[in-house]
């Protein structure tokens, strides 16, 4: 393996990897921050519907200038387009879908995640809280992927034995996708299944507080 091919994934590459988890027929909820561009990478060969809490099932992608509509926006004034078959509805309906367990896969950005599948993404001590719909989603989507950078900018691990920050929910994450690794959260603990290009399990373990086992099937994140 050449040294110069060793690098963490970009956010878009992380989204590309997450998009591979979307199966035919899935309804996928995408968190408004880091996860949103996943929509751009879902295979066009399958039928899937992207859900956002703003009241849309069937988001296409970011609208072109010609499509922009002030009544069709996501977070941060992001103009959206719809795909055929889309439906628009109230917040009550949007959360019936989420909390009622009708969403096949949800993808959330987070500050920290634990080896038990706990997630902490709403409160930094001393800061103003920021929940959005995250607490409604955790524990109710059929499958939950947490997306985050593997460490803080100062290099402190964010995949932990126990979350240090106040948790959003416990035991709810099924899969972790970082810029360095893909891990499954299993009853037996974390399992490293994929690495960023050029990274060894040992190097990743050194940047991870939680202990993980390495899948017999370990590979590099395929498309990177």
């Amino acid at each position: 393996m050449r040294q110069d091919s060793k690098r963490p994934l970009t956010e878009n590459e992380m989204c590309k990897r997450v998009a591979m988890e979307v199966k035919d027929g899935y309804c996928v909820n995408l968190g408004a921050g880091m996860p949103f561009p996943v929509a751009n990478y879902i295979s066009r060969d399958i039928w899937s519907m992207v859900h956002i809490e703003h009241g849309v099932l069937g988001v296409g992608t970011v609208a072109t200038d010609a499509q922009k509509d002030r009544d069709l926006m996501g977070l941060g004034r992001r103009p959206l387009s719809l795909i055929p078959g889309a439906a628009c509805f109230s917040s009550v309906e949007a959360f019936t879908m989420l909390r009622g367990g009708h969403i096949d896969l949800s993808v959330l950005g987070t500050f920290e995640v634990s080896e038990k599948g706990d997630i902490a993404n709403w409160l930094l001590p001393g800061d103003c809280p920021i929940i959005g719909g995250a607490m409604d989603i955790t524990g109710h989507a059929k499958r939950l992927i947490a997306m985050l950078t593997h460490t803080t900018k100062k290099g402190k691990p964010k995949v932990l034995k126990e979350c240090l920050l106040p948790v959003t929910a416990r035991g709810v994450v099924n899969m972790i996708v970082t810029d360095l690794a893909v891990m499954d959260v299993t009853p037996a603990g974390l399992v490293l299944t994929e690495t960023a290009p050029g990274y060894t399990p040992e190097e990743i373990q050194a940047l991870t507080e939680a202990t993980f086992t390495v899948s017999g099937d370990l590979k590099e994140i395929p498309f990177a």
Partner: protein, 227 residues
């Protein structure tokens, strides 16, 4: 039976200092911007605001409750996140503004219960968090749950695309959000709309908010571009 008001100023004339007001809209979509601007002009203070988020001023595009936040008219805010509104965050950190935060689905469900004549519900949402500390708890179906109470208001300011003269409303796309639920949960519901049509012009099967909930209708004077 006339619900049409000639101006936003007339439509909000009786809004009082200290009122609890629901504001429809999520960020820059479906917010009653003309009513909010008029409320700033009126000088109403000490507001308890119930809204998804406090809006913002980004790149000179102002939306949501931000004009009220900026003028420090809001004493307490019940919502789901700060929408990166730096003025809101500053007032919160300085203790000038109380912020009751809910997960957004629970936020809207509390409003629904308020508008529905129900008396509160149990949910597992947030039951393992710091937010649960002061809430009544109960294990149901093996899950830890917390009790959530209804939200009601003195006024709801909502925004729809079209109203008929009796108050039936239709929304477009993400403009729906919290508006139809808030329309059920306030003593006085004031709808600002882009268009007013005659009674009978709307298909009975395609009405999002039936007119029974709507007390006042006013045509918004200015819908500024949001891009």
């Amino acid at each position: 039976m006339n619900k049409i008001y000639a101006s936003c100023a007339e439509a909000i004339a009786d809004v009082f200092d200290g009122a609890t007001i629901m504001f429809g809209g999520w960020g820059p979509t479906g917010d009653p911007e003309n009513l909010i601007r008029e409320l700033v002009a009126k000088g109403t203070r000490n507001i308890t605001a119930i809204a998804s988020d406090p809006g913002n001023d980004r790149d000179g595009i102002i939306y949501g409750c931000h004009p009220l936040v900026k003028e420090k008219r809001i004493r307490k805010f019940i919502g789901s996140y700060h929408s990166w509104n730096q003025e809101f965050i500053k007032q919160f950190k300085a203790g000038e503004l109380e912020f009751e935060v809910c997960s957004q689905g629970i936020f809207v469900e509390r409003i629904r219960h308020g508008g529905n004549g129900l008396f509160g519900f149990y949910t597992d949402v947030g039951a393992e968090t710091l937010l649960a500390e002061k809430k009544e708890k109960k294990v149901i179906e093996g899950k830890p749950c917390v009790f959530e109470t209804p939200l009601k208001a003195d006024f709801a300011f909502i925004k729809a695309f079209v109203a008929d003269r009796w108050g039936n409303l239709q929304y477009r796309y993400t403009g729906q959000n919290f508006n139809p639920t808030m329309a059920t949960a306030a003593k006085v519901v004031i709808a600002e709309v882009e268009n007013i049509v005659g009674v009978g012009a709307l298909n009975p099967n395609e009405i999002h908010t039936p007119g029974i909930y709507v007390d006042r209708i006013v045509k918004g004077g200015c819908y500024a571009p949001r891009f």
